[in-house]
Every structure is written in structure tokens, then in C-alpha cells.
């Protein structure tokens, strides 16, 4: 008997510790950013908002990417959860939550705070994409471009940055003649190799058809530009990748790139601080992948107000402060090269490649998103598989296109 009571009391004690008192104040969930600058910007936002609003306790919870995703799932199935959550804005990610009714319609706040005038066009594109009204507010827009090793380009006799897709292919051939692989990718993470497929698809299909394919409105099997994209993709993976690549991840690929083992990487604007920390920035240049459509390849991260929150007004106030001219100016560069706030510009002391990024953003004519942002999760998984099969020579282009079509039609 005694045993049992001690047992029960110990279990009960555990149960008690599990139930933590709900915090008074505003809870915000975001992913765990690797850059110290971003972390300190978030911490600063916490402090500043508490200063401006005495009596409010802001708690920012940062998690790893996958943990953040699952944590939100957990929260959606129970009554606990954040007031504000950060998420990627694409259909398979933030969009799914919007469609599931997890996000509060922010139309009235957009109006009263004038967010629509303050924020940049590309970043705002997702707020109305998935449901009635306006959902979430962008706090970061990330673009992805080609970074190249100037020395290796020179060695291959490539003059100037490729301006067309043909130029780029010619450059790859010239590099190969010198025994230099054009690109390095890490295959284990799936989304790294995918980037090349995304931009090639934009190149062969043009903006309209690209979007229709990603929205699964066009048939992958019968649309010629999809087949062409897979054919082009195969050209790259067969001949112009640093191999082996399927068994390494993106970080290992980056290490090899810094070791001059390959000429180019297809990376985001977050790559600039990485170059700054690991190498000499003057060694590298960048150019937008020449898709010919002029659209910038990239994705947005949003902050959403949860429908389970009873502090929507306070949360909106926080979002307003976070995207304000003052706050964004104070933390310029923390969330990518370009602020989502139109009125905020990088200063002269910005990193060299960050400045180039501003030109890329300025020159961009619209945007298109990564495949894993555009598709629902199950299609993304299949898209990864098809690309990887193709990249490892197991699937011919037509078969790849057929596989995509078959999967989409039978979901």
C-alpha cells in the first residue's frame, strides 16, 4: 500500500510540474535563427515593446525549424499556443494554417496602422493569397541568387556575369573544360538541389506557366516546358555538379565551395554573412539566375496572429512596432539584405554583397517562390523525390514529369 501511495504521489508531482502557469502577456513563437544579429534583434523587440507598454510581458520562444513546425501542430491540436507565430508564407506552410482558420484576419489593422503603404510589394504578396481578408504581416523577404567564385570564373576565361540562360550554360561548359564543376549542392536536405529545378522551371516555362504548374493547375506530364525543365535539370546534374552530392548536406557543400572545389552556389541573401565569416568577400560575386522573366526567386516569412489569442489588439501593436521605420532602421540587415519596410535602406557600411542585393531587389519584376513553399507538404515530398531520382540518373526527364503528374492526379 505504502508503495502505491508513494508511486502515486510521485506521478502526481510530475503531472503538476507539467502544467505550467500560463504567462501573463504576449507569447511569440519563431524559428531559431543561426545569426546572432537576428537573435539580438528579436530580443531587442521584446525589451522595447515592454518598455513602450508597461505591464506587458513579452515572451519570444525560438525553436529549430522542424521543432517549430511540429510545435505549431501541437498547439493547433490543443488550447495552448502563442499569440503570434512566425511562419513561411507559402501554401504548404503558413498558407495551410491560414486555410485551417488558425490565422486572424488582420484587414482592420492593415487599415488602421497603414501597413499596406509601409511594406514592400514582393513581401506583401502572400497576405491575401490563401483566404478572405489579410493574413499575417511580412517581417522578412529572402531572395536567392547565384554566388560565384571570381577566381574560378577567371580561370575558365568567363568574362562578365552570365546574362542569359545560354550564357550560364556556356559558362558551365567553359568551367568543365578546366575541370571545375559549375555548382555544388548538398543532396541530403532535398531543398538545396530543388532550388536549381525551381529556377530552371521558371526559365523554360515563363512566369505564368511556372505558377500554374506550381499551383497544380497545369498537367506536368503534357506540358512541354515541364519536360524541358527536367531535361535541362538532367544536363546540370549529369555533367556540372560537384560529385558526389547526394550524400552530403548544404553545409558540407558550402565548405567545399569555400575550398574552391566548385564555382557556383544557388543561395539566399543569408549567404552573405556566411561568406563574410568564412572567407574573403572580394573573392565572390553574385548575379540573379538568368531565368529571363525578371522575377526574383525567394520567399517571405510572416508573423501571424493566432485565432486562439485573446490579445489580438496587443499583438497587432507589437507587429506594428516590429515593422516600423524606427525599429527596422535600428536592426537593418538583421533579417536579410532588404527590410520589408520600404522606407528603410542599408547604409554605406553595409557588406559589399548586401549592397549588390539591393540592386537585385530593385531590379526584380515580381517574385516566385521555392517549390517547397508553393506545394502542399505531400507534393513537396514527391517533388523532392522526383528531382533526386532524376539527379541520380534513375529517372529520365519524361518519366520524371509523368511521376509528378501521376502523384498530383491521385492525391
Amino acid at each position: 500500500m505504502k508503495l502505491k501511495t508513494t508511486l502515486c504521489s510521485s506521478i502526481c508531482a510530475f503531472l503538476a510540474t507539467g502544467v505550467t502557469a500560463s504567462a501573463e502577456g504576449l507569447t511569440i513563437w519563431t524559428i531559431n535563427y543561426t545569426s546572432d544579429k537576428q537573435v539580438s534583434a528579436l530580443t531587442a523587440a521584446e525589451a522595447e515593446f515592454e518598455k513602450l507598454n508597461p505591464g506587458v510581458d513579452v515572451e519570444i520562444v525560438m525553436r529549430g525549424t522542424d521543432e517549430h513546425k511540429t510545435a505549431l501542430r501541437v498547439a493547433s491540436g490543443s488550447d495552448t499556443g502563442p499569440d503570434i507565430y512566425a511562419y513561411w508564407a507559402g501554401l504548404g506552410l503558413g498558407g495551410e494554417y491560414v486555410q485551417a482558420g488558425m490565422s486572424t484576419d488582420l484587414s482592420s489593422y492593415y487599415e488602421s496602422y497603414g501597413w499596406g503603404d509601409r511594406l514592400t510589394g514582393p513581401s506583401l504578396a502572400f497576405s491575401e493569397a490563401f483566404a478572405e481578408g489579410k493574413h499575417g504581416i511580412p517581417f522578412r523577404f529572402s531572395g536567392e541568387v547565384v554566388y560565384y567564385n571570381k577566381g574560378l570564373f577567371e580561370k575558365a576565361g568567363i568574362e562578365g556575369e552570365p546574362e542569359t540562360y545560354e550564357d550560364l550554360k556556356a559558362a558551365a561548359v567553359a568551367l568543365k573544360e578546366q575541370g571545375i564543376p559549375a555548382f555544388t549542392f548538398g543532396g541530403t536536405v532535398n531543398w538545396h538541389v530543388m532550388r536549381l529545378m525551381d529556377v530552371i522551371l521558371e526559365t523554360t516555362c515563363g512566369a505564368e506557366k511556372h505558377d500554374a504548374l506550381m499551383a497544380m493547375e497545369l498537367d506536368w506530364a503534357t506540358e512541354p516546358c515541364a519536360l524541358e525543365a527536367f531535361t535541362e535539370m538532367k544536363w546540370w546534374t549529369d555533367e556540372h555538379f560537384l560529385k558526389p552530392f547526394m550524400g552530403i548536406d548544404n553545409r558540407q557543400a558550402t565548405t567545399l565551395w569555400f575550398g574552391d572545389r566548385a564555382a557556383m552556389m544557388l543561395e539566399g541573401d543569408w549567404h552573405v554573412p556566411t561568406i563574410d565569416e568564412n572567407s574573403d568577400m572580394s573573392k565572390y560575386g553574385m548575379f540573379a539566375f538568368p531565368t529571363g522573366t525578371g522575377r526574383l526567386y525567394g520567399f517571405a516569412e510572416y508573423m501571424y496572429i493566432s485565432t486562439k489569442s485573446d490579445k489580438a489588439d496587443l499583438a497587432a501593436k507589437f507587429l506594428d512596432m516590429f515593422t516600423s521605420d524606427e525599429f527596422q532602421a535600428a536592426h537593418i540587415g538583421a533579417f536579410g539584405a532588404l527590410s520589408v519596410n520600404k522606407n528603410v535602406k542599408q547604409g554605406d557600411d553595409a557588406l559589399e554583397l548586401h549592397k549588390e542585393w539591393l540592386d537585385v531587389f530593385a531590379a526584380a519584376d515580381g517574385t516566385f517562390v521555392n517549390g517547397d513553399q508553393a506545394f502542399p507538404l505531400d507534393v513537396t515530398t514527391e517533388y523532392f523525390r522526383v528531382i533526386n531520382e532524376l539527379a541520380s540518373g534513375e529517372l529520365e526527364p519524361q518519366a520524371a514529369a509523368d511521376a509528378m503528374a501521376a502523384f498530383i492526379s491521385t492525391r
Partner: protein, 287 residues
Amino acid sequence: MTTTSPIVVAPRKRRDPVLIGLWISLVLVAIIWLAPVAFITFTAMKSESEVFSSAAFALPSKIEWNNFALAWAKGDFNNTFWNSTVITLVKVPLGLVISAMAAYALAQIRFGWNKMLLVFLLFGAMIPFQVMLAPLFTLVNSLSLIDTYPGIILPYLAFGVPYQVFILHGFFKAIPKELTEAALIDGASHFVIFRRIFLPVCLPVLAALLILDFVATWNEFAMALVLLQDKSMWTLPLGLMSFQSQFSNNYSQLNAAIVITVLPATLVYLIFQRYFVSGLTSGAVKG
């Protein structure tokens, strides 16, 4: 049977060539078996540049203890170590207590459906919990126990009970029921009987189970992956996995992190080696 082969007739002959060959091959296998461990340990102690420049099995020219310190800090090992320790130290003794109670009841008290209950429990030892990760997750989530110690300890207990009950039951059954019944008539409670008669007998088995369970709990990954979402609640295996995905390009620190993760269980194993063998064999083979 009676073919003549006089050479090998003499048993335990000195310098039997077959035995020497056998011995050499066993030692070779042992060297191969140890090689990965040596490679990892050496890499962990080399500087990053030496990892790339020196041969795989070359001893580090200078031991970089700093790798361990850096890996410890980056991987947040303070936290994961603490969580693993708490979870293991609570789960293992608690699990043994409830298993021992259940095994005692099943072996010594007549219910009528003892056998069915035993089979019911045994069933769980055979079912891979990996197939139930999703419903387990929804269950724990619906109890609001995700990211809590009880949220992981209770499922651990549930999946640890069957095997332990099974083994302990085998031992308890060997003690005649008449002994228990006589003691009961004399007014002893089950608790007293258990402590006085059973505990002394099964102490070695309990010790073996304790250590086996320690290692199993310490190493468990899949359930923790699903039930512990919050980084601050992670156990060592989760921490290592995350370390690998974050610092996959920093080889010496990655290997240092592996060493840190593996070391505690290895030490426990080396100290209590004989219990491992007896624990494993007592249940599986005799049962």
C-alpha cells in the same frame, strides 16, 4: 561417428593450430570492431585542419580538448545531459518497481486469468512502438503533456513494463506459491512478503534489468523525437541529431559531440559488464 581422426582426439591440446587460427581471426574481428570507435575518438581530439591533413588512424599531434568544450557549449549539452539524467533516473527505478509489483502479483496471487493478463502484457514486448508514434503523439498531446517529463516518462514506462514483467515473472514463478500463502496466513502483507522473500532472491536480476533499462532509456530516440518538441526538453540523442544537422561541416566538434553522447553509457557498460550478459540471457534464453 567413429571415423578415425586421431590428431584432434586429445582434448585441450596445447598450441592446437586450429585454435590459434581461430584466436587470430577473433582478434582481427575485434580490431575491426574497435576501429570506428578509435577513428571517432581521434578525430574528436584533432584540430579542424589536422582532420583534413592527417591520416585517419594517425594519433592527434596535440589533443584539442577545446573541441569538447566548444561542442558542449554549442550543442547545449548542459541542458540535454540534465534532461536525459532526470528522465532516466526517474523512469528506470519507477519502472522496475511497478514491473516487479505486477510480476509478483501475476506469479503469486491467483486471479483465474493470470495467464491471459501475462500474454496481454507480453504482447507489448513484441510490438514495435515505432508504428504507434503518431497516435502516441496525439494521445500525449491531448493530455497536454508534450514537452514535459511525465509526457515522456509515462510512455517509456508503458513500453518498458512488458519485457521486465516477463523476465521477473519467470523468476518469481520459481518460488512456490505455498510459501507465500503460508506467510499470508501468518498475517504478513504482500509488501512484507515481497521484501523479505522475493527481493533477496531476485536482486541480481533486478540489477541486470536496471542497467539494461538504463542504457535503453538513455539511448532512446524515436519516442523522444515525437514527444519532446521543445529544445529545452531535449535528451542527448535529440541534441546529437540536431548538432549533426547544424554543424555537419565542423568535423572535429561533431566527433567530440558523439564522444560526449556515447561516453556515459559506455562507462556504465564497462563497469557493470557482467550484468549485461546475465540480464540479457536470463530472460531471453531461459524463458
